[in-house]
């Protein structure tokens, strides 16, 4: 079972929830926490994991053999991303625009293009606080997070409950994370920004036909617009986490919520039961 924890807006509490939910479930179930926010992975801060496996993530990019190249421009014409440009019969390659599709190699009449692997990031596997842990780390300067997330998900242990901590937003990295999840928890805050971005995130989970529920963090500040929106949409509010200095302090110092405030174990266990019930209900009706 895969549970993704996502949000449109950043900083709403995805990491807080993902780490603590995984820790609580690990007391009774086989669980793995997978940090898919490969641009800014933070789960490791709360687990201080020992990493015992490290694997590069490679994508294929073209390399042009200058001897064989006629400078005909077929590759530049074919590339839909503008990653290849021919100036004065010489090919220039802009890797940051390349999607690694391989079309340039196919269309080259003299087989002057071959594809070579380029390392764009790393997958790390380890364990922290007794919890099996996977994270992806995108190399700084690399634009494409999606291949790292895909590689990360392939490495997840299918026999365990997988908790996927998603990057913020609603773009391709978030879509890649939540697309084949069994359930998505959308974390939001009761503010105008929180509501606006919850709508956007919900549009994605609806497009992907993944069932979703909401967790409201910093509850008590702001307005009740988020709650009203959930009611209108028939979205379950699974948990409300109040704005609380003690929670903020634990987060700031890299201490998991359930470690600093063990009274949160029970509500998180209940949250998981609610997700199981929601899935049951869906299956039966």
């Amino acid at each position: 079972m895969r549970i993704a924890i996502a949000s449109g807006k950043g900083g709403t509490g995805k990491t807080t929830l993902a780490v603590s939910l995984a820790l609580v479930l690990a007391e009774t179930h086989p669980v793995e926490l997978v940090d898919c926010d490969v641009e800014e992975p933070n789960d490791h801060i709360f687990l201080s994991p020992i990493i015992h496996e490290r694997k590069p993530v490679e994508v294929l990019v073209p390399e042009v053999d200058r001897e064989a190249c006629l400078g005909c421009g077929a590759c530049a014409k074919a590339c839909r991303y503008g990653a290849l440009v021919v100036i004065g019969r010489k090919v220039f390659f802009h890797y940051e625009l390349c999607h690694g599709c391989g079309l340039c190699r196919m269309v080259c009449p003299t087989e002057a293009i071959r594809e070579v692997p380029r390392t764009i990031g790393w997958i790390e596997r380890g364990e922290g606080k007794g919890l099996p842990f996977l994270q992806g780390v995108l190399n700084v300067g690399e634009p494409r997070a999606t291949p790292v997330i895909r590689a990360l998900k392939e490495m997840a242990d299918p026999k365990r409950i997988t908790i996927l901590d998603s990057p913020p937003g609603t773009g391709c990295p978030m879509v890649e994370t939540v697309r084949d999840a069994d359930y998505v928890i959308l974390v939001t805050e009761p503010t105008a920004f929180g509501l606006h971005d919850l709508r956007a995130a919900l549009a994605v989970t609806e497009a992907l036909s993944v069932p979703a529920g909401v967790v409201v963090s910093k509850w008590g500040v702001g307005t009740d617009h988020v709650e009203r929106f959930c009611e209108e949409k028939g979205l379950p509010v699974l948990l409300r986490i109040p704005w609380d200095q003690a929670i903020a302090r634990a987060y700031a110092n890299g201490i998991p919520l359930v470690e600093a405030l063990p009274e949160w174990r029970e509500p998180l266990r209940n949250l998981f039961q609610d997700i199981l019930l929601a899935r049951e209900g869906r299956r039966n009706g």
């Binding site: 950043g10 641009e39 599709c101 913020p168 937003g169 497009a207």
Partner: protein, 290 residues
């Protein structure tokens, strides 16, 4: 014209709050919201939309059933797992297709065509604070970086036409393609951070990315009073990296109330956060002109 890009690494640190405040404080400016998958700046600036431009950043492959031979060449060749075969019928999954055209190339029957796809919208608006350009990515669409570039190009053109002194760009969280696109061509970068180990970790990666570009980089610490021990850590890190800290903004719930009222916080009242951002703006403008 000076182009200032506001980024953060970690999300939710207060980029939009700061940019919204700058919109009120600075004169002669154009605003661009480049966080196209969660654009929020317009919620503070009450825009009157003057133009809504469809954004077609890529193409989408389509397979014509009657022509398809079922050979599976396209499935083989597609690197994005975008071709789905169900009972011998091939179709394209629009969420996976990156519009590269490989399937079109390898199809022996001419069954594949590529159609422009609507990936989002670009809005050009009038606001009481100056022109605003913002993008909106449709749910699940690709090409965030290209849309960011399109938003920025439009904002730059307006800044040029109006002779604006400033272009303020509200960036996306993270360090991936939308952030890289928003940093391209920037003169100055402001990283909004907060006192937490997560934000500190993300600040380092964001600063490293920003240095790839030829821009001056500075930092402001938001919600600074929530964890004084970590403020110290951030200050030490910033000084080691040679990043000036241009301000400390205290946690202030009026920021959220201003948001609900749809106003920049500095316009809403003159509470602690508003005063700190005013001081930030003075330092920031002096630092940029150095």
């Amino acid at each position: 014209m000076v182009e200032l890009v506001v980024i953060s690494g970690k999300g939710g640190t207060g980029k939009t709050t700061v940019v919204g405040a700058l919109a009120f404080l600075a004169r002669d400016k154009v605003l661009a919201d480049c966080d196209v998958d969660a654009a929020n700046l317009h919620l503070l600036l009450r825009p009157k939309i003057e133009e809504k431009i469809p954004y077609e950043g890529s193409e989408l492959a389509q397979i014509e059933k009657s022509k398809c031979l079922g050979c599976g060449n396209c499935v083989e060749a597609c690197r994005f797992w975008a071709i789905i075969s169900e009972d011998g019928v091939y179709r394209v999954d629009p969420l996976s297709c990156e519009g590269c055209g490989v399937c079109f190339q390898v199809c022996p029957a001419g069954a594949v065509s590529l159609k422009p796809r609507l990936s989002g919208w670009i809005y050009v608006s009038h606001t009481d604070y100056g022109p605003l350009v913002h993008g909106e990515l449709l749910p699940g669409e690709e090409n965030t970086g290209k849309l960011v570039t399109a938003v920025k190009m439009r904002a730059r053109a307006i800044a040029k036409d109006t002779g604006a002194k400033w272009l303020f760009v509200d960036g996306a969280p993270g360090i991936g393609c939308p952030v890289i696109a928003s940093l391209s061509g920037a003169h100055a970068v402001l990283i909004v951070t907060e006192p937490s180990l997560s934000a500190l970790h993300d600040l380092k990666r964001a600063a490293e990315l920003a240095r790839h570009f030829r821009a001056k980089v500075s930092v402001v610490i938001n919600k600074a009073d929530l964890a004084p021990n970590l403020v110290e850590k951030i200050e030490m890190e910033a000084s080691e990296e040679g990043l000036p800290i241009l301000g400390h903004i205290p946690y202030d719930e009026t920021v959220i109330r201003a948001q609900a009222a749809g106003r920049p916080v500095v316009e809403y009242n003159s509470g602690p956060a508003a005063r700190a951002i005013q001081a930030l703006w003075q330092k920031l403008s002096a630092w940029i002109e150095l």
